[in-house]
């Protein structure tokens, strides 16, 4: 090895340096993050939000408790009351601890009405733990913030559609799609 022509003629070093030189002349691939941002891919699993329907202005949640049952990190707690006349459930409080969440996306996949969603919002933090324990009010606020940034007219998550999954596995309400029209929503802050 020591006396091979590769070794004596510095062929190995020249090859390596030529590769680095070629890369040196290419465009840089680094994104200087706070100043420029990468485009977030649709259906990225980011900050949680509670979807608000444009027509009614109310949250979509029907308090079926499926998300809190399926959650592997047990981070969702739901309080509801039953209407005595009609017998339908009404959501009282929805508490989601973002600090416990593992962002597996099971909750948005299992939700029959597309109420809870992991939005494409990836940069968020809090000053204390309470800031990252989302209650219903905060979740709706998250949705409004997300909608304000969303430049298309319709929002639809990949996990609501589940392309390629047999119809039998989807709940009836999800077979037609659950896209939200976000044009015309009043946004506060």
């Amino acid at each position: 090895m020591r006396f091979s022509p590769t070794y004596l003629l510095f062929k190995d070093l020249v090859t390596g340096l030529l590769i680095t030189l070629r890369t040196f002349l290419r465009k840089p691939v680094t994104v200087r993050y706070p100043h420029e941002k990468v485009q977030v891919i649709p259906s990225f699993r980011g900050r949680h939000a509670m979807v608000v329907d444009t027509e009614t202005g109310k949250s979509r949640c029907v308090a079926c408790l499926k998300c809190s049952v399926v959650c592997p990190s047990r981070c969702i707690k739901i309080e509801y009351e039953v209407d005595e006349k009609t017998g339908e459930r009404r959501l009282k409080e929805y508490i989601l601890e973002a600090l416990r969440c593992v962002y597996c996306g099971y909750c948005e996949e299992v939700c029959p009405v597309g109420a809870i969603v992991l939005t494409e919002w990836f940069e968020y933090s809090g000053r204390c733990r309470e800031d990252l324990i989302f209650n219903l009010e905060k979740l709706v606020q998250n949705w409004k913030e997300h909608v304000a940034k969303w430049d298309k007219e319709v929002y639809e998550n990949k996990y609501w559609v589940l392309k390629g999954v047999p119809l039998k596995l989807k709940p009836a309400s999800r077979r037609i799609g659950l896209s939200v029209k976000i044009k015309g929503v009043k946004v506060h802050g």
């Binding site: 190995d12 070093l13 390596g16 590769i19 691939v29 699993r45 597996c104 996949e109 390629g164």
Partner: protein
């Protein structure tokens, strides 16, 4: 430690020095601690200490339903999470007789190979950085970033993907993404050539890797090494070939093997494996069948956990026992070991089912844990600087080792 050290000063060059390397050392790839005994700079004895990242995943899994365990397996070998997920899904499919549809199989094979490339890229990057080649580190992360972007497009997460599902995958991949992956393959092939150009003939790389950490095929088998660490010694054992799963029997690829069983051969092996992975992905994309991606027999995400451990405090003892006996068996009983070829080696899952919706016992044969046990053998009579190369060449991920 000699007891008379204080009273009788010895020549420091000939006395045995004990040194704790890690768990905060950057080249131990996580929280591995090594108890070293040194003579000068030569390693006399090396005693690995593991368990700093122990989270009790196996016990944890017993409290979760089958679909809920899947996100846990992401956290085993977190740089090739697709392989872990597939391994876990596979053992359940084989035990319960769920057959994924062909498109699901092909997609799973494809993402597994992408994850393998990503894992090998991270291995090459850190291994080269440990030995002193900074450029390779930056180049490898450039390509890894692209693969992670594909994962983000496929399922919305970059590392903890949870993309495969029992009986297939969670959802179909968009045509545009598949096209992007296909166009990425020739570029990736060129990049592998680039890494080889930078390292394979480089005199410093050769000095640092050739003849370091030699292990023969018999010894490697005796230690239970698998994956590239075993194939570097010339043993062509490959779970993908010998116990094929998913779409692997339908694609063509070769088994790269080394000859001498040293660090350099293992490096060559892994680079060849990256080329074979590219080949597999290309075949998968070309042969990709149409249809559904997940079997109809797959357990629902929000399935009932079954009889076991359900509200035990609500029953008195007799009622609870009769409840257990009467509990409906949702799944067949039985036990099974099944393995996949993870990026590090043979990743095995041993599952015991008691008929309920939760695993009665889940044991994970983690290749990293077994590779750590070969460290004392490989490191003996080498210098400390070579130890860093040896830890790198075994490709240890502590998340999988300690689980």
């Amino acid at each position: 430690m000699p007891e008379n050290r204080l009273s009788e000063p010895e020549d420091p060059f000939f006395s045995v020095l004990e040194l704790q390397m890690g768990p905060q050392h950057p080249s131990t790839h996580g929280v591995l601690k090594l108890h070293l005994k040194l003579e000068g700079e030569r390693i006399v004895d090396c005693d690995p200490v593991v368990g700093f990242l122990h989270r009790g995943l196996e016990k944890f899994a017993e409290n979760f339903t089958y679909p809920q365990v899947l996100p846990l397996t992401d956290r085993l070998d977190y740089i090739s999470a697709m392989n872990n997920n597939t391994g876990y899904c596979l053992v359940i499919e084989r035990l319960f007789g769920i057959e994924p549809p062909p498109r699901g199989k092909y997609l799973r094979t494809m993402v597994c190979e992408l994850a393998r490339i990503a894992s090998h890229l991270l291995w090459l990057a850190t291994h080269a950085l440990d030995i002193g080649a900074m450029t390779v580190f930056l180049y490898c992360f450039r390509e890894r970033e692209q693969i992670l972007n594909f994962f983000e497009e496929i399922c919305g997460a970059r590392l903890t993907v949870s993309y495969p599902r029992i009986g297939g995958v969670r959802m179909d991949i968009e045509e545009a993404t598949l096209e992007k992956v296909y166009n990425f393959l020739p570029e990736m092939e060129r990049r592998v050539d680039e890494y080889e150009g930078l390292l394979s003939e480089n005199r410093i790389w050769l000095e640092r890797t050739v003849g370091v950490g030699v292990i023969t095929a018999e010894e490697a088998l005796a230690y239970g090494l698998t994956g590239p660490s075993l194939r570097g010694s010339g043993m062509p054992y490959y779970v993908r070939k010998h116990f094929p799963y998913d779409a692997y029997p339908e694609v063509e690829f070769e088994v790269p093997v080394g000859k001498n069983g040293d660090t350099y051969d293992r490096y060559k092996c892994r680079l060849q494996e990256m080329r074979q992975s590219i080949r597999i992905i290309r075949q998968c994309l070309e042969k990709l069948p149409e249809g559904e991606v997940v079997s109809e027999l797959t357990p629902d995400l929000d399935m009932m956990p079954g009889g076991r451990m359900l509200k035990a405090e609500a029953f008195n003892e007799v009622a609870f026992i009769s409840f257990l006996q009467e509990a409906k068996e949702t799944f067949p009983k039985g036990e099974l070991y099944s393995a996949v070829e993870g990026a590090k080696g043979e990743l095995g899952f041993y599952l015991v089912s008691d008929g309920s919706g939760r695993p009665y016992r889940l044991h994970i044969r983690a290749p990293s844990f077994i590779h750590v046990s070969a460290l004392p053998k490989l490191a003996k009579n080498h210098l400390i600087a070579d130890l860093v190369a040896i830890i790198g060449t075994l490709d240890i991920v502590m998340g999988e080792c300690d689980r």
